[in-house]
Symmetry: C2
Subunit: 329 residues, 2 copies
């Protein structure tokens, strides 16, 4: 573990969210040399584990998780800079990082890193989140880094970046700056409805993805019946079951379709008012991006591209903007 | 308990839902002689209790709850007819009662009672639910009885009856017949969001009703920001807390206002398309009706009346239509 590692590391980049931690060992120009995926989200950290060859000391859960993520990498190549983004910089995280106000240039993110000093160890640089104070306030932590990674440097016109997930974010970028963003709690609402309302009671396991049921629900949102809004249409998950039109194993996908449909129908309406983006880019898990893509197409938003490796690219770009790494390295 | 009871009973009427059971002893013309409230909803029935003076026998939870609700009333006045409405007639209830298809005359409900034969005991007559098969299907059990009880016999024009609760129902009645209804899962969604999403984490106990916070949320739904829809606006419960604009103790009322606001804003939009009712009547718990009344006023639906004793009146009217009681009695 502490012997020769492949390539030469320029940056250790951490994507540290609520439920998991991804660590990247990045080489010249951000090339990915190694990746690790650990279950140590900020809401479930390791409590007391052996920290390898290091002497047993009382360490915080963050230190313990950090050691597992990249302790050996740092011992092999001491002095490699470390950057981290996501909820690790929230009030419930390792240390609270700033919020930058929108509108903001993506490059600027690198000039506002918060440093965690680790006596005897490598400091960790936390990426700030973004806050939007106009209208209903909105915040993000981690997605700003993915947006930076998803975008080319020379996009002309507005780009709309969609980041589906527990809390979906829709981020408008103009000439390298975030000008606006929206949040939809679609993923978390889905889990709460499925796990903690009557809708979950008639659902059975879905043996395989059921895109027919998904599309059924997704299209209802924009139908005449959808005008009653999501608080009303979700009840049809149950009633279509009562009338025999929707078997138990199709109800979860139908509900997912309904919620994503309502999200995208509302978004398409907002986009028409604000002005169409020149393109739409998705960052996220492949099967979720596929579902959002179907909804985008149905509601007139075209066929968005899916950005790959946006997180690690974004972390590299923030580090570059911060001077932690250089293009020559 | 089994000695002389006040007045002479003509009907024993049960309002038996998911979480509680109300029993009414009704006299001439439906006058309320006695009322009992028991915690025995169909989802939590008594398991093994002493059934008063009756010999200990193995009885179902429904029988045990029934005995506690009105066993002594029936022993004092054997032969008094018994009627019950609500989820007791669902697939998870004592016996499954029919659904009548909408549109349906309220009088007709009395001609479709389902009878539970109780060997050696008084039979129980179950009120059917209503089902609407056009568009997304919709069902109700219990509310049809409240609607019957809420309405005068000679309403001209459409009356819209609002029944706020776990699942709000909005029922259009024309010339004594239910022509259409909608369901909003507002109450249950509120509980799921509060108990099982990140929104609940920053909420603290509300020492007293906070109508300012409620109205704040209620009005957001119909504002420019509300156009993003409820999946988006609910996140502001958290972000307004982060920016210091909404203290923890105000967040639950704000969220309640948001959800009820989205329900009423959608309803007002539907009502404008379908044609304005001549009046709106609420049936439900007083503090909830007050909140819905504020929303109704804000979204242009005027100041609805609140119907009193709709449930017991409705049960009497169904029994009358069924011939279980008569106006002469």
């Amino acid at each position: 573990m502490n012997s020769a590692l492949p390539g030469r590391a320029r940056l250790i980049a951490l994507d540290w969210g609520t439920s998991s931690l991804r660590a990247y060992r990045l080489g010249d120009n951000g090339a990915i040399l190694d990746t690790r995926h650990l279950p140590w989200g900020i809401m479930r950290l390791p409590q007391s584990v052996s920290v390898g060859a290091a002497p047993a000391v009382t360490s915080s859960g963050f230190e313990l998780a950090f050691e597992q993520a990249c302790g050996d990498w740092l011992r092999a190549e001491p002095g490699t800079p470390v950057i981290a983004s996501g909820m690790v910089g929230s009030a419930q995280g390792w240390k609270e990082a700033a919020y930058l106000d929108v509108p903001v240039q993506l490059d600027q993110i690198g000039s506002a890193l918060t440093v965690i000093d680790r006596p005897g160890g490598q400091p960790v640089h936390l990426v700030p989140g973004l806050i939007q104070r106009q209208g209903l306030p909105n915040v993000m932590r981690g997605e700003e880094t993915q947006v930076f990674g998803a975008l080319g440097r020379d996009d002309a016109g507005d780009v709309l970046v969609g980041l589906p997930g527990t809390h979906s974010k829709w981020v408008t970028v103009r000439q390298g700056g975030v000008t606006h963003f929206d949040t939809f709690m679609t993923g978390e609402v889905y889990a709460a409805l499925r796990g903690h309302t009557i809708l979950g009671r008639t659902m059975s396991e879905t043996p395989a993805p059921d895109m027919t049921a998904f599309e059924h629900g997704m299209k209802v949102a924009g139908s005449e019946a959808g005008r009653a809004g999501v608080l009303s249409t979700i009840f049809s998950t149950r009633t279509l079951g009562l009338t025999g039109a929707l078997p138990g194993h199709a109800q979860a996908e139908y509900l997912s379709g309904l919620l994503i449909g309502h999200e995208i129908a509302a978004l398409a309406d907002l986009v028409r008012t604000r002005g169409e983006p020149s393109r739409i880019v998705f960052c996220g898990e492949a099967s979720l991006c596929r579902r959002y893509g179907l909804a985008a197409q149905h509601y007139g938003l075209g066929s968005p591209e899916v950005a790959e490796h946006a997180t690690e690219r974004g972390l590299w770009r923030v580090a570059l903007a911060a001077g932690l790494v250089s293009t020559q390295s």
